[in-house]
């Protein structure tokens, strides 16, 4: 896709965004700025409290050496890298790259980034790889900002591992923007296994040209507060974007998603799949928007969600939106939200499993799935550590599941 140049593709650097100087906690002596975040394209009744989230944005010191990049391609850092990304994008896209979190939060992440990297992925017949580790060892802030142009016919796999040691506190973040050009293929695999003292903000912006393929695979397993935005501008002919998110909410974890798939090109395909388990006092809000823009004839957008609530205290909120401004399209959504079937529960209880143990089994099954799904030893180690912390078990031994 070659379109008219437009320098507005890159959000222009600007002073810190306007933030509300509100006190986020009654106990706080110092006002902590807050960010309005994750506002979807179409809002609804305000009393439902689903139209946006609000996160505190404290000024934290940077956790040193917390963000590392590894790739088989030479990447650039700093201001020159940003300038290079802007230049590269000029020819390919014509609007700002949205990242789902909203402009203020997006700019805040960019401003607070502890590392910035820009990458231009060539089409040279190789499947290229970029590994981003956001793993703070000390309390503080660890935010990676990454911009990638994937050249026509190029292939790239991006893995993002967000992990923390047990204990400690701080904020991690990832702001990733990808321009996937004609016929390029991009695989994004993200794993988050933070401990409960850590919060995470994630912003992902994608632009897809003709016949581009982007697949996003997310495993959201840890942290006490997770805020994730994703926006994909599927503007190329027959481009495809698939988002598969699997999450686990334990204790009092708050998870907030805002995923927006804009289908602009003809014959585009998008899927948004979200599967999760909520235990304890965990809460989750998923805003999923399939936006079938005028002109996207022949496009198909699908959204499915399955939520298992294993506790009476868990809260699930969902707002699956389909916006349709085109006739020759198909948009579908399906959701199933429920508890363990009473018959299944009874069956397991008759075999000596307590309710706590049954809940534990469901948590473990999610962690087992994640462990089987990830590719690297480091990712498996992160999941093992999370399992030890949360269910007190190691996943690699087959210790008795039924005691």
């Amino acid at each position: 896709m070659k379109t008219n140049a437009d320098t507005s593709l890159i959000n222009q650097a600007s002073p810190r965004p306007a933030m509300n100087n509100q006190i986020s906690s009654q106990d706080s002596a110092i006002p902590v700025p807050t960010l309005a975040i994750n506002r979807p394209p179409a809002i609804t009744w305000h009393h439902l409290a689903m139209n946006e989230a609000c996160v505190s944005a404290p000024a934290l010191g940077s956790a040193k050496d917390a963000v590392t990049y590894k790739s088989d391609i030479t990447y650039a850092t700093g201001d020159r890298a940003l300038a290079a990304f802007k230049e590269a994008c000029k020819s390919y896209a014509s609007s700002t790259i949205e990242t789902g979190v909203g402009p203020d939060a997006d700019q805040w992440l960019a401003d607070q980034a502890t590392e910035y990297v820009s990458l231009d992925v060539p089409a040279d017949g190789h499947d290229h790889q970029l590994d981003i580790d956001i793993v703070p060892r000390l309390d503080g802030r660890a935010i990676a900002a990454t911009d990638i142009v994937v050249e026509p016919d190029a292939h790239l796999t991006v893995t993002i591992r967000i992990d923390s040691p047990e204990g400690g506190a701080g904020l991690t973040g990832s702001r990733l923007r990808i321009v996937a050009l004609d016929r390029s293929v991009v695989e994004i695999q993200q794993l988050q296994t933070l401990d409960q003292g850590w919060r995470h903000i994630d912003a992902l912006g994608i632009v897809e040209a003709d016949n581009a393929r982007v697949h996003v695979d997310q495993l959201v397993l840890g942290s006490s507060e997770v805020t994730m935005g994703l926006s994909s501008d599927v503007r190329g002919y027959a481009a495809r974007c698939d988002v598969d998110t699997r999450y686990l909410g334990q204790n009092a974890t708050k998870i907030d998603f805002n995923y927006v798939l804009h289908q602009r090109g003809k014959q585009t395909q998008c899927t948004l799949i979200a599967n999760g388990i909520l235990t304890g006092h965990a809460s989750k809000l998923l805003r999923g928007t399939i936006d079938l823009v005028h002109g996207c004839k022949g496009s198909v957008g699908r959204e499915t969600e399955t939520v298992l609530l294993t506790s009476e205290h868990a809260v699930n909120k969902t707002i699956p939106v389909i916006l349709c401004d085109e006739e020759d399209v198909q948009g579908d959504h399906g959701a199933t939200i429920g508890h363990i079937n009473p018959a299944q529960m009874e069956y397991m209880q008759t075999r000596g499993l307590s309710i706590d143990r049954i809940e534990h089994l469901f948590v473990r099954s999610t962690l087992d799935y994640a462990r089987a799904h990830v590719a690297s030893d480091a990712a498996r180690t992160s999941i093992d550590a999370l399992a030890k912390r949360t269910i007190g078990e190691s996943l690699d031994d087959d210790e008795e599941v039924i005691r």
Binding site: A314, K317, I319
Partner: protein, 470 residues
């Protein structure tokens, strides 16, 4: 039956609704909304002090609330140019022969007296701001059923009942147009069905807004006591003007233990109407509310009947269809709050968009912590009939109870080529085929309507579909 008559509908078109009558001799308050106007309306009705104070308080609330920022634009609605009260030159009658000829002619053309004779247990007819006709069959009244104007009830033996229920389900603080309703409401019906009484035939209220640039703010209050059963039908229409008209009615329904209420509406306001209506039901243990809702008219609609299931094993069924054509932005749907164990809800909606119309399905399902073992099923299907129209679905779900099952499905698409091909290969014309498919799409809703309304709906669809192809 004259050719102009609509009853037993075999020849419906929009001209049946689009006729105007002179307002000569009618009382009109000044345009706009002021405390003086509110007091003037209250004084005309000789209301008790509490109601006058309630109106003034509602006006204060209205002035302090902002317009919704999440729905269709209502910029074209200028309250400074809306007349909130228009009284026709007659009082309420219980015999059609005593109703002034022009008003009687209006309702005859709409088929109301004929319907009353054919299959209704009682009828209320409102013309602009006041009821002009109200009647209930003796046999029904003999069972203790009360069906009267709500203002009449406010002054009679049910005054205390009205006071303890009026705008308690929909308080003026609910939203800006609930507050407006509280300030300037006029007309509407009161229904009381005693415990254990089942009405074999429906009651019907019909609301006709004839006055140009006016608002209609009728209030409907229905109390169905334990083990009772009622089907209530509501119809509405207006002629088209080149200025905005406003409808901000309010419906409050109380459904007792093991009682059942079906509330059917066919809304066919003219396309200059802002329809900002509020409907809400509270359902007690084992009770059930059924909403059947057809939205065809209005320029802009905000309409989301709400059900609060407060009693164990209470239930709600919502069946709705919305057809948005040229110049229409119809934001419709429902809200349900499941607030007791073993409650259940089934929502099934269909929407069609054509000729630049915008149809939005909006819902809110809240399963509170108390609603363990609740079941929810929501299905919304939308059909796009051309590429200049728009259809959105915005369903929200908030689930926080134990052992619940919530299922939701939505789809948006067009008429399938395979279906068209199949029908056309059997000699059916393209426009006929598309009309058949659309009627089939709407059938799950139309079959829930009283026969006359189902026929009317199918004819409206047929009319809307004319010229849809090619």
């Amino acid at each position: 039956m004259s050719e102009q008559q609509k009853a037993q509908i075999d020849d419906v078109d929009r001209s049946m609704y689009d006729f105007k009558k002179s307002e000569r001799g009618y009382e009109r308050v000044s345009e706009g909304l002021t405390p003086d106007i509110v007091e003037e309306i209250s004084a005309k009705k000789n209301e008790p002090t509490w109601m006058r104070d309630f109106r003034l308080k509602s006006l204060e609330i209205y002035n302090n609330m902002s317009v919704p920022d999440w729905g269709p634009s209502i910029d074209g609605l200028d309250m400074d140019h809306i007349v909130t009260y228009v009284k026709p030159n007659t009082d309420q009658k219980s015999d059609w022969e005593h109703v002034p000829d022009d008003i009687k002619d209006t309702f005859e053309r709409l088929g109301i007296p004929q319907a009353e004779r054919s299959y209704l247990a009682g009828v209320g007819a409102q013309y602009d701001s006041e009821l002009v006709y109200h009647n209930v069959q003796d046999s029904v009244a003999g069972e203790g059923v009360v069906y009267s104007g709500i203002e009449e009830a406010l002054h009679g033996e049910y005054a205390d009942l009205i006071r303890s229920h009026f705008m308690h389900l929909v308080p003026p603080t609910d939203h800006k147009f609930a507050a407006l309703h509280g300030a300037v409401w006029s007309g509407g019906s009161f229904v009381y069905v005693p415990a254990g009484v089942t009405l074999d035939f429906p009651l019907q209220s019909y609301f006709r807004l004839n006055a140009k640039g006016a608002g209609q703010f009728e209030h409907t209050l229905i109390i169905v006591e334990d083990d009772a059963d009622l089907h209530f039908i509501e119809g509405c229409s207006a002629p088209k003007y080149n200025v905005a008209n406003l409808h901000a009615g309010c419906v409050e329904l109380y459904v007792g233990k093991r009682a059942h209420l079906r509330y059917s509406t066919i809304e066919n306001w003219s396309k200059n109407m802002y329809n900002l209506n509020t409907k809400r039901a509270m359902v007690d243990e084992g009770g059930s509310i059924e909403w059947v809702s057809g939205s065809f008219g209005s320029h802009v609609s905000y309409l989301y009947p709400m059900s609060i299931l407060k009693g164990r094993k209470s239930s709600c069924d919502f069946t709705g269809i919305t057809f948005a054509g040229k110049g229409q932005d119809l934001d419709t749907g429902c809200k349900v709050v499941l607030a007791a164990p073993e409650t259940s809800t089934s929502v099934q909606t269909k929407s069609l968009s054509k000729d630049g119309g915008v149809s939005t399905f909006r819902s809110g399902v809240t399963v509170t912590k108390a609603a363990e073992h609740a079941n929810v099923s929501v299905s919304c299907q939308s059909l796009m009939l051309d590429d200049i129209s728009r259809s959105d679905t915005i369903p929200a779900m908030d689930v926080r109870a134990e052992h619940v099952n919530v299922g939701h499905e939505a789809s948006i698409g067009r008429i399938g080529d395979d279906m068209m091909y199949y029908l056309m290969s059997r000699g059916i014309s393209e426009s006929e085929a598309s009309t058949m498919i659309v009627n089939g799409f709407a059938n799950p809703v139309s079959k829930e309507l009283p026969l006359e309304y189902a026929v009317e709906m199918n004819n409206l669809i047929k009319l809307e579909m004319e010229g849809a192809i090619g």
